[in-house]
Assembly symmetry: C2
Homo-oligomer: 207 residues x 2
């Protein structure tokens, strides 16, 4: 029961941050959205709004970490996997009526200069994404071979940056065009990254 109540506060905070950002979200609004008394909020999060927001970013981040493998696994060809990743993002954002797909990115952008502790939490989440994405890219084969090791992290950074920026443009312009442009623009690069697997090296040795 107490876990449920704590989780309800975190979930409500994710939704408020997603919709209206950090500055416009009060502890009172979080309590109301979570149907939790203020005493309960301060019981679980004695440091208040900053602490709840930090937990919300970590919690949202832990879900998103599975998206890259989920969307890319069905595709043998790396450029096709990149295109599918952005196509899925375009479909999702359009179907939700241009909702904010990544509160981690937007809250980080809003508070990077004013909330150093929360910025560090956002940086931790992004670093987790980068690490997991890099390991995924290095741990699988693609049509034509595998990813050249040194480029896996660069690819994940480019994918994540392009996704975050295209989300902002798509929400602003109410158009999926920026997401589709991002996917098409990264395909020629993706095609340069796959090199034939050297003979005698197994998947487990390279991973």
């Amino acid at each position: 029961m107490s876990t449920t109540s704590r989780q309800r506060i975190v979930t409500a905070t994710i939704e408020l941050l997603r919709r209206q950002g950090y500055g416009a979200t009060s502890v009172k609004a979080i309590a109301a959205a979570a149907h939790a008394p203020m005493g309960s909020l301060y019981h679980y999060f004695p440091e208040g709004k900053r602490q709840i927001a930090a937990e919300a970013l970590r919690s949202a981040g832990a879900v998103y970490i599975h998206l890259l493998p989920l969307l890319m696994d069905p595709h043998d060809d790396l450029p096709a996997a990149v295109a599918a990743f952005f196509q899925a993002a375009a479909d999702d954002i359009e179907h939700t009526g241009w909702a904010n797909m990544c509160p981690v990115g937007t809250v980080a952008a809003e508070i990077a200069d004013t909330e150093p502790g929360l910025r560090e939490v956002a940086a931790e989440v992004v670093e987790l994404w980068m690490g997991a994405g890099t390991r995924y890219m290095m741990g699988r084969t693609f049509a034509g071979g595998r990813l050249a090791d040194a480029r896996a992290r660069e690819l994940v950074q480019a994918l994540l940056g392009a996704l975050e920026g295209a989300f902002v443009l798509a929400r602003t312009m109410r158009s999926a065009e920026p997401l589709l442009a991002a996917g098409r623009a990264l395909m020629p690069y993706a095609a340069t990254l796959v090199t034939p697997t050297p003979a005698g090296r197994s998947t487990s040795e390279q991973a």
Copy 2:
């Protein structure tokens, strides 16, 4: 004198939005930062904070529209121009101590779901950038020829999206790496866009 006072309010608002976002910025804080009495603020902007913020986004947007030509003009080679664009962004953001380079993008991301009027202003600004960038790309020659017409807007969308997203990641992680990765990732795509100028067609006919 009155123009100066109005411009001081707008400039102060751009800086507050850049640093702390829309939700955390009050009319009172704008008045204090602009050294303007509240009466003066409401004289120039009777609709208050939304109206001042709209003017701030338009004003910031009008400056940034010149950046793409400024940074790309020295480069004959389109992939090299793309790399130089992101290298300059990386240098700038690092030298300012990871300041927010684009209040239009961050404010748009923060308010897209809650302030429809302000979102429309941000969309106008982004559309102006896209139009000016597309015309620039179509209006000049690069080493090897010109840009295939239909791809100019797609390129500008990809550049702008990658830039906005990499800015967010760079500020969050305090690292220029995402901007440099974005530049490198867009170079192979840029190399596919330039096609030989057809004989007998002049620059003015194509522009």
